[in-house]
């Protein structure tokens, strides 16, 4: 049980705020689009992940409950 980051790749416009606010799990490729570590978000980072989700200008990032 935990939370995982899900991204809507069509909505994502490469703004990059997620990478600024959650560099432990998100890095940007050569064109500014996020590469996200697929694992569950560690408990210590959940609050930062929520802020990253909130900061996305196009609501492309989501936190989803996972079963694993």
């Amino acid at each position: 049980m935990g939370e995982a980051l899900r991204i809507d790749r069509i909505r994502c416009d490469g703004h990059g705020l997620c990478a600024e606010l959650l560099p432990e799990l998100v890095r940007l490729d050569d064109w500014g689009y996020p590469i996200i570590k697929p694992a569950t978000v560690p408990a210590s980072l959940v609050e930062h992940a929520r802020r990253a989700v909130d900061a996305c200008p196009v609501v492309a990032l989501r936190l989803r409950r996972t079963t694993g």
């Binding site: 809507d8 790749r9 069509i10 909505r11 994502c12 416009d13 490469g14 490729d29 050569d30 064109w31 500014g32 689009y33 590469i35």
Partner: protein, 405 residues
Amino acid sequence: MELIPLGPDAESLAMHRQRVGPLPTAPSGQLIAELEASGLLGRGGAGFPVGRKWRAVAERSSGGAVVLANGAEGEPLSLKDRSLMAARPHLVIDGALLAARAVGADDIIFYVGVEQRAAEAALRHALAERPADVRGRARIVKAPAGYVSGEESAAVHFVDAGDARPTTTPPRPFERGVGGRPTLVQNVESLALAALIARRGHAWYQGLGHGRARGIGLLTVSGAVNHAGVHEVEFGSTLSDAAAAAGGLNGDVRAVLLGGYFGGWADLDEQWSLPVDAPSMRARGLALGCGVMHFLPAKTCGVEATARIMSYLASQSARQCGPCVFGLVAIADATRRLAARSPQPHDLERIIRWGGELTGRGACRHPDGAVALLQSAVQVFADDFAVHQRRHCVTIAARARDAVA
């Protein structure tokens, strides 16, 4: 031969009934059980078990489901679907009708490529031969030309909104598809085979095939063969058997493209005895996909062939996701530079790195497929790529040598 011969004319309803008998009247539960027992795998490229797909849609349907017979055939090298629809439209229609009964659908859509005139004409004519209640439930929708318009969410999106670009999934069409209803998107060859299995039972299909493989299917064989075209094979026969079915090789061949642009290259010597069968090929890291087999003549440079394919795939991006738009274009441009023997200093490294970063970062599997093709090329044509990075080409050198020999 079950599906072959294909053509030259479309069979009439009478010829069809004479050849395979009337439409079976088995109830939906039994149909789905037969398909599951037969082990029939989808022939659109993904190879998903057909029975399981029908069951998934049936479970979510309360009578208003939709069947989308997918004949868009976006793979440029593939001809089997249009040939099948053009020659045996009634078998495809039977498959769609059985699917509609099995999943509880009252809306049947035949999704045919806009440029496939013969297939469309044959289907129209065949539907006109059917009774009114069938005609009332079925319609033909012309898929726009383009590589991704046959992707299942793109097909649904086009029917709903006239936009043949893939959408974000979940939900997948079997949950929410056309008009928000559970939709069965099934390749036309899969439907044709289902129509045969419904008549003859799962044991008939299981009885076909060589070795541990089961069943039959259509391949589109092209390139350095004597009789390029659509051929039927029993799964489990080898790659050499497939070449023989196409009249044998007509020259030196080093590599073969398996599964179309969504598949990958394979070294011919290594894979000459490869059993042609989706599970066996997947176990070897290869793909049966939509059944394309293109034998590349040895006098054609593998890097050039790959560069042309990558440029095509980059141009066919739906342009909805940054990684695909920018990444695929960058990879295609770098591959083209390599093919032209004027690469930038780190082009080969770059395409490998970008490829690794691109997989899984689009809304659909288009970039993944392109990267898989590139990775297979870099492996099979490893020496050629290295030589091209040093601004030479082995194939061109060999051609020059042969010209003066």
